[in-house]
Each structure stands twice: as structure tokens, then as C-alpha cells.
Amino acid sequence: MSGDRTLLLVLFEMILLVLLGPLLTGIIQKLKARLQSRQGAGVIQPYYDLIKLLNKGTVQADTASGFYRSIPVLVLVATVAAGALIPVVRAGPPAFPLGDALMLLGLLSLARFLTAVSALDAGGAFGGMGASREMTIAPLVEPVLMMVVFSVALSAGTTELGALEAHRGSSWILSWNAADFLGLAAMLVLLPAETGRIPVDNPDTHLELTMLHEGMLLEHSGPGLGCMMLASHTRQIVTLGLAAALFFPIGPVDTGATGFLLGAGAFVVKILVLAVYLALVESSYAKLRLFQVPQYLGIGFVCALMALALRIL
């Protein structure tokens, strides 16, 4: 098969995403702190946290099954595999059979399912509550995310992200189709939900009232918790990367070192812009009551549906 993205490149991009994930979390936390007039921890704090957790021992609930210890690794693997599907430095179809955007969403929901299962497995009350809440919200987020992907994929005729990006070329806001605006609006509504941030979830606490994702991690400890946290950092950068790939394509750049650097630089800028958006949203809104979340996500659903309608009709 001929294609622009070789196996080596895809692997490199995947590892890059995993390595940069914690940095992104650190940057968002730093931005939030500055917006709230606090000094905040350094941007590499998440790395320290991960290293600390990986060096600790594991404590496990007596009720947990033997499957429990392998779950953090599985979650991490599923999320990292999803990262392989995001084109980072170069657009274009892959040179070997690689999954598409639907595969990516499937892997992310697999990770989410495993996380919820582990929370239920441990038998803690808080974990069960977090899991049930997460599973209430997930079916509202995932179909809408798929509809956003479809609304963009319809124009290119493919759901493979690299080929999709190459097809869209370097279209910037001025050359956008009307449906792109509604699709981006839906994506911006969904991003806080998918990355587990205010107004849907609060990543900073695992208080009973706010917990969704953090609640599910309560029973994990040591390296397992480290894997789960690394997975959630990776999930965040993968989600932002998906948004960037769908709406801010880099276009076909030349295959030399210049194109490589240009693509990487463009990716960093796009991710940073989305990170600033997340930090701003988190600093300016309060967390929604759980029962108001469906209405909030309903806005995203309606926007995505209209984007599809605009694309088809």
C-alpha cells in the first residue's frame, strides 16, 4: 500500500503524544492558576506526580478480583493505541492498514468502560457512584462526537483522519463551509465533557458532589493509579488532537525536515489554543448540577445534528 505516513512516523507520533500529555495538563493547570491570580505548580508537575506514583507500592481492596490489577494497564494501552490514530506532524493516508476516527472513538470508550468496570470491581461506594455517573454521561457524549466526525467526514468521503486532513487541505476559517462552524461549536461544547473538566466534571477534586472521573480512580493506588493518570492525560491530548485534526487541518506539507518541523509546530500551536480555551472555560464557569448536564450536552447534540443537516441538504 502506498501512503504518506509510515509505520515509523505513526509510532513516533504516538510516543510524542504520550510524552506530551502530562505537559498539556500541566500547562492547563498553570493557565488556570494564573487566571485565578494564583502562582500555581510548575508545568512539569504532572511528570513528578507520575514518577512518584510509579515508585510506590500497591494497596488493593480485598473484594477486588484478580482482573483488577491489569485494568490500569489495559486502559493505558487502549488510550495510547487511540493516540496512534491522530495525525500529528503530517497529513495523508497511512502506508499500512490503520484504524480510522471511529476506531479512535471505540478505543476511547473501551478505556472508559474498563475504568468504570474497575471502579465497580473494587467495591467502593464512591467508585460505584462515579462509574454510574460516568456511564450516564458517556452515552450522551459519544454519539454526538461521532456525529461531529461524520459531519466533517462527509465532505471528504473518508473517516481516516490522515486522509481526511489531506483532503481538507490547509483550509482556514475564511474558506470554511457553513457546516464547519456548527461542527466546531458542537466540538467546543463537547471538549470539556470529553476531557473531564468543568462544567461537566472537575478534575481537581474527588469530592463526592463533583466526582465523575476522579471518583472512579479512588480505589487505585501506586503504579496502577499512575497508569490511570497517564491514560487520562493521554486521553485529553488525543481528544484535543482529534478536534485539531477535524477542524484545523495542517494540509499536505513537504516530506523533508522543514515540513516535519512545520507540522509539529502547527500541532503544538493548535493544541495550545484549545488548551487556552479549556482553561478559560474552567475558570469562568461553575460546575453544572448533574441533572443539568444533559441539557448542556443537548446544545452540542443539536449543533452536530444541524451541521450534518447542512452538509447533506
Binding site: 474558506s175 470554511w176 463551509n177 457553513a178 457546516a179 464547519d180 462552524f181 456548527l182 461549536a185 443539568q292 444533559p294 441539557q295 443537548g298 446544545i299 447534540f301 443539536v302 449543533c303 445534528l305 444541524m306 451541521a307 443537516a309 447542512l310 441538504l313
Partner: protein
């Protein structure tokens, strides 16, 4: 500007108009709905300016300017003033659940696109997606008026519906006679003033909501 650029810009503005309409339908606080309707008017003024540069019609510049000042600034300010005066925060009381209203809004948008697609040659002569977007805005404005109990939200719905009619008229005719447009704007201002006075008066004399009038029987 060539025709294709104008078409695509009007299309994009139409998408943004639809987005603001969704925000109006989904708003849980009256002040957010007012901000959304002000933004919508701003986009309509932008559309007017784009059409004015495309057609060279000076009247459209005037209309865009008036829309910007009256509908994007003065009327929202008036509504905010009423909200402050009445000291209400969550003045949105839907008759049917919010999600049902949102679903109806989607149905309206899809139907208006579907129906205007069947118009064929008429559709072709109109700038971009202006016709279905205009119809959708108008009907959604009526939907907001029909599904809210309180007078202020109904006013927001009226303004949104009026925005839809305005947008359609502007795009279909590429500039109606100035006198008609100004007449329409004056009508809106008058309606807003009368409704404002009504809302405040009803509130101050009987201390009741408009919905309570349902129980009034002769």
C-alpha cells in the same frame, strides 16, 4: 467580491445565526438569551454589510447600521434594563421540557432545509442558504414565544423571529426599499416599548405573571 465568496460568507453567517438561535432556545437564564439575541442581530448587521459591498446598494449600508445600533445595542439594553428593574434572574419558564424544545428546534431547522430544497429554481436565485436559515430562525422564534411562560422570554422570541424575517428579506431581495426596512425597524421598536411598559405595568399593578392571566375568565 465575486458571487461565490458572497455566497459562502452568507452561508457561514447563516450557520452562526443558527448557532445563536440554539443558544436562545437552550438558554436557562434570561440574560444569556438576551446576549444571544444581541449577537444574532450583530451577525445580521454583518450580513447586511456583506450584501451591501457585494451589490453596491447604499440602502443596505444604512440598514446594516440601523440594525447594529437598534437591534444589537438599544433593544438588548432595554431588555436588560427591564430584567434589572424587575429583579429577575431565571425568568425562563418553559411550558414543555427544555430538551423537547431543543428537539423541536432541530426538527424545524431540518424541515426548513428540506422544504426549501424542494423549491428548486427559486432556491437557486437566492443568496446561499439564506432562505432556509431565515425560515428556520423565524419559526424557531415563534417556537420560543410559544414555549415560554414569561413575557420577557416571549419578547426575546419575537426579536429572534423578526431577525429571521429581516435576514430572509435582505438576502432574497438584495436590499428592500429603505422606507420599508425603516418601517419594520420602527415597528419592532414600538412593539418592544409597548411590551416593556405592559410587562412592568402588569407586574406593578397586579403583581402577577402573564401566565396567571390564563385563569382570568369573563
Amino acid at each position: 467580491m465575486n458571487i461565490a465568496t458572497v455566497h459562502s460568507i452568507i452561508d457561514d453567517l447563516g450557520a452562526l445565526l443558527l448557532f445563536t438561535m440554539i443558544l436562545i432556545v437552550a438558554a436557562s437564564q434570561i440574560s444569556r438569551a438576551i446576549y444571544a439575541v444581541a449577537t444574532q442581530s450583530l451577525f445580521i448587521a454583518l450580513a447586511g454589510a456583506v450584501l451591501a459591498t457585494a451589490t453596491g446598494n447604499v440602502d443596505l449600508w444604512v440598514i446594516a447600521g440601523i440594525t447594529l445600533i437598534v437591534k444589537a445595542m438599544v433593544l438588548p439594553w432595554l431588555l436588560h434594563w427591564v430584567v434589572r428593574r424587575m429583579d429577575v434572574k431565571r425568568e425562563v419558564e418553559p411550558v414543555i421540557p427544555d430538551m423537547a424544545t431543543l428537539a423541536l428546534a432541530v426538527v424545524i431547522v431540518v424541515m426548513s432545509f428540506h422544504l426549501s430544497a424542494s423549491l428548486g429554481s427559486v432556491r437557486q436565485s437566492i443568496t446561499g442558504n439564506a432562505l432556509p436559515v431565515g425560515i428556520a430562525l423565524t419559526l424557531n422564534g415563534v417556537l420560543v414565544m410559544a414555549t415560554r411562560k414569561t413575557a420577557l422570554s416571549q419578547m426575546v422570541g419575537l426579536f429572534a423571529a423578526e431577525n429571521g424575517i429581516f435576514f430572509t428579506a435582505m438576502a432574497v431581495t438584495e436590499g428592500m426599499p429603505l422606507i420599508i426596512e425603516i418601517g419594520v425597524i420602527l415597528d419592532v421598536i414600538l412593539a418592544a416599548l409597548v411590551m416593556t411598559i405592559m410587562v412592568l405595568r402588569v407586574r406593578s399593578t397586579v403583581d402577577a405573571d402573564i401566565a396567571d392571566l390564563d385563569r382570568l375568565r369573563g
